[in-house]
């Protein structure tokens, strides 16, 4: 039996998503019978609760062209989307870093010396 498939189905259900949303608002709301010593299954379930919560939020905000409800409900497509999103964000981050470097270089141009020339971030 593949418990991961079951766990993901549970985690994205409106029932558990509602409980998870409520638990974020009401700190004292308990998700499980046990308070600690969570099983690996429970930890994995908490991970997927957070992932699906985020995906539903991004879906409602129409943040991504390729994200719709069918993607969230299909484990294979959802894995693919999560990987693509990770890659996309890494690329954005690298682009920002590159831009930051270029900006730092501009400040360091000789002949235009001012107090702004100090590279506070220590970038190369």
């Amino acid at each position: 039996m593949d418990y991961i498939e079951t766990i993901r189905k549970l985690a994205r259900s409106s029932y558990w998503q509602s409980i998870f949303t409520a638990s974020k608002e009401v700190g004292s709301l308990r998700l499980f019978d046990n308070d600690g010593n969570y099983s690996g299954l429970q930890s994995t379930f908490l991970y997927w609760l957070r992932v699906y919560d985020l995906l539903y939020t991004e879906l409602s905000q129409k943040e991504w062209k390729y994200l719709d409800e069918k993607v969230i409900e299909d484990d294979i497509r959802c894995d693919a989307f999560l990987y693509w999103r990770g890659q996309h964000r890494d690329a954005e981050l690298n682009k920002n870093k590159q831009e930051q470097k270029v900006n730092n270089l501009k400040f360091k141009n000789p002949g235009k010396v001012s107090s702004f020339d100090i590279d506070l971030q220590g970038g190369n």
Partner: protein, 208 residues
């Protein structure tokens, strides 16, 4: 009631009606299963049980090291390669290649619109095929390396945890199934293997 709340409530009721949520697998830190018409459960070990298992594992390690033919994972990998039975390095290369292919397929699938049903099915089928190949590699490596000291200790740990943390239901009460390792080893393997599998699931990603 606002529309959004109404929709949420309707969805929740629909889910409750249509799905078996199998909440049991996450509701607490236990897993219940039925074998030969009897109800069993495995549970997470408490600290003292975990300490006992660690101690028993250390003793087992010393015991295994004294045994003839005891071989570490590293030594076994080299030996299997030398006699031409199994090349872990080559298998690892194949695994890396498959992982690259899987990531490429994910990138292709992620940018498909939901209307493109045919293309999605095609990509999904390829992904399932790659994932199955990766699973088979993992099983093959685990099988080949099973005689190693590390694998034997891993097996011992799971079995000892199973011995401590498996209960059966008798007259509405949970009672421990096996008192000693000897009792556990005498048991029908279909029950012990099932209990071990459930303990492994319960500990998912929890063990170093």
């Amino acid at each position: 009631m606002e529309n959004k709340e109404q929709q949420l409530l309707t969805d929740s009721i629909r889910d409750l009606e249509m799905n078996d949520f199998s909440n049991g697998i996450v509701q607490d830190n236990k897993l219940v299963f039925i074998a030969a018409d009897k109800t069993y459960r495995v549970r997470m070990p408490i600290q003292s049980e975990q300490a006992l298992v660690d101690n028993k594992k250390n003793i087992a390690q010393l015991d295994y090291l004294k045994q003839e033919g005891c071989i570490t994972r590293k030594q076994l990998i080299q030996q299997l390669k030398n006699v031409g039975v199994f090349d872990v390095d080559k298998v690892e290369e194949a695994r890396e290649q498959l992982t690259k292919e899987l990531k490429q397929m994910w990138l292709i699938l992620a940018t498909k619109s939901s209307d493109n049903k045919m293309s999605i099915e095609e990509c999904s089928a390829k992904i399932i095929k790659i994932q199955n190949e990766l699973k088979n590699i993992a099983i093959e490596v685990a099988t080949q390396l099973a005689p190693s000291l590390e694998s034997r200790l891993e097996k011992f740990t799971i079995e000892y945890l199973t011995l401590l943390c498996t209960d059966s239901q008798l007259d509405g009460k949970w009672v421990r199934v096996w008192e000693t390792m000897e009792d556990f080893q005498k048991e029908d393997s279909s029950l012990t293997e099932r209990a071990c599998a459930n303990v492994t699931w319960l500990l998912l990603n929890k063990r170093a």
